[in-house]
Amino acid sequence: MLLKIVNMKVWVSYTLSSLRQTYEEVRVVPIISIRNLSKTYASGFHALKNINLDIRQGEIFALLGPNGAGKTTLISIICGLVTPGEGQVLIDGEDNSSNFRATRSLIGLVPQELAIATFESVLATMNFSRGLFGKAPDSIHIEKVLRDLSLWDKRHERIVNLSGGMKRRVLIAKALAHEPKILFLDEPTAGIDVEQRHSMWGMVRRLRENGVTIILTTHYIDEAEEMADRIGVISEGEISVVEEKTVLMNKLGKKQLTLTLQAPLSSIPDELSTFSLELTDQGNVLVYTFDTQKENTGISDLLRQLDKLGIDFKDLHSSQSSLEEIFVSLVRDKGASLKP
């Protein structure tokens, strides 16, 4: 009898945990889902062309693209600042126009432009933001946000008296005033000094640890490389690539092996023509570019050949191309290199 009860208990707790698992699987549903979104401005300019994009809950998503690519337009439509053309945006499963109250409460937005009412004090503008999003006043939360952004000492200062970088931080603080679950950062670090930039990265990571989903745009590719879980590249209103950062870097990242020779070569010997080699620095340096995707990188073959030819080297090192280089090449050929 007792055994039965124990068994029962085990069974119940097992069922519960499997239920929870199912629930968690359901949660993999994207927090933002953009379907066939297009936008033509009143001027007739076709700013977005059939965008499809899912943002996962809790990730940091970097949206990269050259000036005028449509990043701000996309963000503005999601946040309700610009009327969409065709298509649909779902936030946590809810339509962002028919159910705007539910969806907008979840979102905080830091706009690209430094738009901020300058005669208010920092504290007053924070309370304004929180109230606007329908939250009861909470001085503890406001203090925490301001401290996180090193603005607490400036809380009574009028915004007009703050520096440009501080103003941008106030914009970020305002966006966090209502404890959003999704945060849009449209070029958050433009005009911010190195130290504050690093502390902001730290803050963004802490937000993510607390379950906040973050979508950021930036022209500092190293920032995306440092922060992002996934990267989307947009150019001329079209998304060309959406990929895990590590996968993207592996897929497109080329590695190079640089050999500093003992004696300079006048040209690359014919025996080495099968390798993609480049001779630089007046024949003193031999650079071998190889594909990390390939099973056989060809390094040992190359070294064996060099040994055979009696070409000696005093130093060698390998390097991987940065996200910045990848990005530049992606935008240049509009993602062609990623297509199979």
Partner: protein, 253 residues
């Protein structure tokens, strides 16, 4: 209802009022005093009574309207125009607030300010003329409905305007002439019959007439008609604002 949002907008707008206290409150009082000195004391002493009311007292409702229409429009239009101009409107547009809540916040603040000014003008007038208000409750009602309506109208102008000039043009080119011609300084019975008919197309006539009735019990048109006209105008403004937010006209593109 997002009451916190309404309060946030209202508090923000009112803090702007307190910051610019001198301009926002002193100037209408000064202007009204000047009117009393010129029309009330100097010219008025040579004028006979109108409808049995001394001229200086007769013009009080008209002067109130003159100030209130201008103030309501400029307060509300500037309140929404400036965020649009400076870009801070993004926050309101991205917030979970409905059109109605936005209007209540902005228009509510403009109405508060206009009503404060109305009270100050009434007090100022007391220093120049002896007057009594026959129907204080209705006076308050007319003032409130008028300021609400014209604050909404100002709100529409602020949404529509895409430069500072446009912000000024309607109050200057439309409202002030209509008020002057709407019986602020005379009874429309004093006009030739033809112009009396024309004047009835001027909506301000109904506002001033109604308000004057609440003061002295005399009016150019029936009080009920005045009330209906105000409500109709208010409804038109509400519908227009609703349409603007629905289509995003001048806000979201």
């Amino acid at each position: 209802m997002n009451f916190y949002a309404i309060r946030a907008i209202y508090v923000f707008e009112m803090s702007r009022t307190w910051r610019t206290l001198m301009e926002s409150i002193a100037s209408p009082i000064l202007t009204t005093s000047l009117y009393f000195i010129v029309f009330g004391a100097a010219i008025g002493s040579r004028m006979g009574d109108i409808d049995g009311i001394p001229y200086a007292a007769f013009i009080i409702p008209g002067l109130l309207m003159l100030s209130l229409l201008g103030e309501s429009i400029s307060n509300a239009s500037f309140g929404i125009y400036f965020p649009k101009f400076s870009g801070t409107i993004y926050e309101v547009l991205s917030a979970p607030v409905s059109t109605l809540e936005i209007v209540i916040g902005y228009v509510g603040a403009a109405v508060t300010k206009s009503m404060i000014i109305a009270v100050l003008i009434l007090i100022t007038a007391y220093f120049f003329v002896d007057y009594e208000v026959l129907h204080p409750f209705w006076m308050f009602g007319f003032l409130l409905l008028t300021t609400i309506t014209f604050s909404m109208f100002g709100f529409i102008i602020g949404l529509w305007a895409d430069d500072f000039q446009k912000l000024q043009i309607i109050p200057m080119m439309v409202i002030t002439p209509l008020t002057f011609l709407g019986g602020a300084f005379y009874s429309i019975n004093m006009l030739p019959p033809f112009w009396q008919k024309v004047t009835l197309f001027n909506p301000v006539v109904y506002l001033i007439s109604g308000l004057r009735w609440s003061f002295y019990g005399v009016s150019d048109v029936a009080v009920g008609l005045s009330m209906v006209m105000i409500l109709v105008f208010m409804l038109i403004c509400l519908l227009l604002i609703g349409w603007i937010f629905k289509t995003g006209y001048r806000l979201k593109d």
